[in-house]
Amino acid sequence: MEIPYTVKPRPDTGLYNAKLGIWLFLASEVMLFGGLFSSYILLRVGADLWPHGMLSIPIGTFNTFVLIASSVTVVMAWANLKLGNPGKFKFYMAITILCALGFLSVKSYEYYVKFTHYDVWFKDDATAEKYFKAAYGEKGPEEVRELFVDRFHLHNTNAKYDPAQIQLVGHIAGNPLCTNLKKLLAAKQETIKFTADPPKGSHEHPHEIEVKLSDVQRLSAYVPAHSTFFAIYFTITALHGLHVLGGALVLAYFLFTVDKWWKKAPEQFTNRIEVGGLFWHFVDLVWIFLFPIIYLL
């Protein structure tokens, strides 16, 4: 049985069926991401403290550039099919898929960096001060407070905060992935070697210190359970990453089957590329909104 209206427009809609189908699907995607963006905004405006500068802007910028470039190449791939040139289609589609893989690789690296970066909260102020001094010297408590004020932009607001919220930020020796206090204690570990982040305005890490786990109230990597910020950050970016992966798989299928399709049904294949390109553009457009909201504002 032949599927109708894969090439010619359907008289009542004026569109071939796949195009109407992809737009209906994209409408549901708008609602999905719209709901998550709304959640982000509501969580943020309702929060007492919201961190800034937790993500690398140069890395985010690079990924934005990669996705914009991939949208250009996917359109070029489609345009070359329209012009009857499947050879150039292969070239541009291969670049599109490489861009997608590049984006996902960079995103994975970003996740890895977060999963090995830790915040440590201590049981009481006196204990915290002892470790702040051990890490940064006599001016330790001021250095840590300055990093805290900078993270939450408290110099720009009148927000009040509990000094007990101030944490030591840095890396555990050996860079364990996504560990926490419960797991470390379960492994019968009593201490950890910890290197704090450089003080504000410096790139030099202070020397490594030993932290007794009995002094620690909470220890968390930058994972979804760390805070509301990371929960919504990982939810939205992971969902977006899955869309990139799904889109790349479909486009890769088109790339590897172009010879067969081009002989059998060139116009239908060109329309399929257009539909794939529409999805790809939607995924990239989501990132165009995501990048400023999560990385910059």
């Binding site: 910028t61 550039f65 914009i68 359109v75 345009a79 257009e274 165009i288 990048f291």
Partner: protein
């Protein structure tokens, strides 16, 4: 809406993002004096101008293809 029309929308959004991001980074540079902020600001501005030129080229190249 065809891929052509959606691409025009996408390029327009990208140009707006580039322009805003360029302003954002150059404003930050006036505070931080960090070379990275300056280069990101300049790079983003250049990318925005390049995208405008590309958009015009794209519209000329695909003038025979429908927006629907």
């Amino acid at each position: 809406m065809s891929l052509k029309a959606f691409h025009v929308v996408f390029v327009t959004a990208s140009v707006l993002l580039s322009a805003w991001f360029s302003w954002y980074e150059l404003s930050r540079y006036t505070d931080t004096k960090a070379a990275m902020d300056m280069w990101l600001g300049i790079g983003s501005g250049v990318a925005g101008v390049t995208l405008v030129a590309y958009g015009i080229y794209f519209l000329k190249k695909l003038k025979n293809i429908s927006y629907l």
